[in-house]
């Protein structure tokens, strides 16, 4: 996710410092970004000279001190409150007092993340959608203590990058996941209840509403284990029964049926063919 956000910033003319604690993920980021811009050249969307200019705006480092001069730091680390809090505390120690800290969290509270920072008024939610380099949407959320000036500056930066921001309150899942996670669970529960099979449910959604993908196809794409993690993030906070993990989902994950990445989820994947499971 971090690589996608870095691409968004760099192609908009910003200098980008990619920081990670280890070399291996940084090397992966380099490969992803170079590959992305090379494809852009091959598809005639940019010249080789433009590609080289964009890539020259990237710096990679495992030294957090290299972020000291940044105006905006967007974290996209593991979705864990303590990890994010600790990172913000480290960033606050090395960055200028006016550096804005954006969090790409999709489920956690911006206010709680900001509590790891001695000046939480500079922390703002900036949730990009996967893949960030292709998706225009950014859910932007102020925490309770976020200053108006910081929110506006982050909003303006998002616009300057050609993204489309929407404003949400600092609530679990913001808009996207707050609507999607329970909806996906409901589709699984419909199978559990014997209402219909996966293919019928997805077909009904696609034909009836014109969606490109049904909920069970989507869960297969993001991973059944990811859906479990989303449930585990949401349910304890919201106590919404629709956010609770459906038993069928847990059983399928226990059986190793994780979706596309394991070759089978609600559908079987044999090459490019899909079959109802």
């Amino acid at each position: 996710m971090g690589a996608g956000i870095a691409i968004v910033a760099a192609r908009s003319g910003y200098n980008v410092v990619c920081y990670d604690t280890a070399e291996a993920p940084l090397a992966k980021t380099v490969k992803q970004t170079e590959g992305f811009f090379q494809k852009s050249v091959e598809r005639g969307k940019m010249t080789e000279a433009d590609r080289d200019a964009v890539l020259a705006r990237f710096e990679r480092t495992t030294d957090i001190v290299r972020l000291a001069a940044c105006d905006l730091v967007i974290e996209a680390v593991f979705e864990n409150l303590e990890v994010k809090r600790n990172l913000l505390a480290q960033l606050a120690a090395v960055c200028r007092p006016d550096t804005i800290f954006g969090s790409n969290t999709s489920t956690l509270s911006i206010t709680e993340i900001a509590s790891g920072c001695p000046n939480p008024e500079r922390v703002v939610g900036m949730h990009f959608c996967l893949p960030a380099q292709l998706m225009k949407l950014v859910e932007m959320s102020p925490g309770i203590l976020t200053s108006d000036a910081v929110f506006k500056a982050a909003w303006d930066w998002t616009l300057a990058c050609g993204q489309i921001p929407v404003r949400t309150q600092d609530k679990p899942g913001f808009i996207l996941n707050a609507l999607l996670v329970p909806f996906n669970n409901d589709a699984i529960r419909a199978i559990e209840a014997g209402v219909a099979d996966a293919k019928s449910i997805d077909t009904a959604i696609k034909v009836g509403l014109g969606y490109k993908m049904g909920p069970l196809e989507l869960i297969d794409l993001i991973g059944l284990d990811t859906q479990v993690r989303l449930c585990e993030a949401f349910y304890p906070i919201t106590l919404d029964p629709r956010a609770a993990c459906p038993p069928l989902l847990r059983r399928m994950v226990a059986a190793g049926l994780l979706g596309r990445k394991s070759g089978r989820g609600f559908y079987n994947y044999d090459g490019n063919a899909m079959f109802g499971a």
């Binding site: 949407l137 489309i164 929407v166 309150q169 014109g210 969606y211 029964p241």
Partner: protein, 212 residues
Amino acid sequence: MSHAIMTYAIQQQGDSRSFPAGDAFLTGATKDADVVLHLGAPFKADAGKKAVLVELNAECLAEHVDEADPSCKNVLGFARYRNGGDAPSKLIELVRLPVTDAAAIDAAKAVFEAAGFTVVVCADQPGRILDRLLRPKYNAALRFLDEGLATAQDMDTTCKLGLGYPDGPIERVMRGGLKHHHDVTRALFETYGTAAYAPPRLAVAAAKRGAR
């Protein structure tokens, strides 16, 4: 899937949500046919037909027939999905009973698919597939609106840009009509009894003031 050509007859009483007056499907009906559709007309068993289809609104098929009666093995319910006052979609939800024969399902599918519809088969449960799945989502979106999570426009934009939906939940439920949403969710809530189906404030208010 290809099916044998099936002819169909229609018994109609009053308006049909699935096939409004002038719908092309109505013109394809014949008098003596393999399959008979009841559009608002009282259900009448006919063991001589390959399938007897009962149009459903919010109700279950079991409100028309005894779901355990083996003489009803050729009886199915159906509804063409329609978002409130929107034009009907190309989707037919075909409702089967525990006693339903596979041959009756094939006959019903043949009739609808020959007319260009996509058919999905589901059990006889309130809300079938779509209202069961969609109404709680619309309820959540309307509640979020009340709570100030985001504006209606931002919620719709999020769903369109983030998920590729052709429209957002608020614009869809508003376009379909809050009164319609109220009526559907109230029926679901009475059956399931879970908060997710409870009609939301905006829909209750619309119903009470007699809005669409």
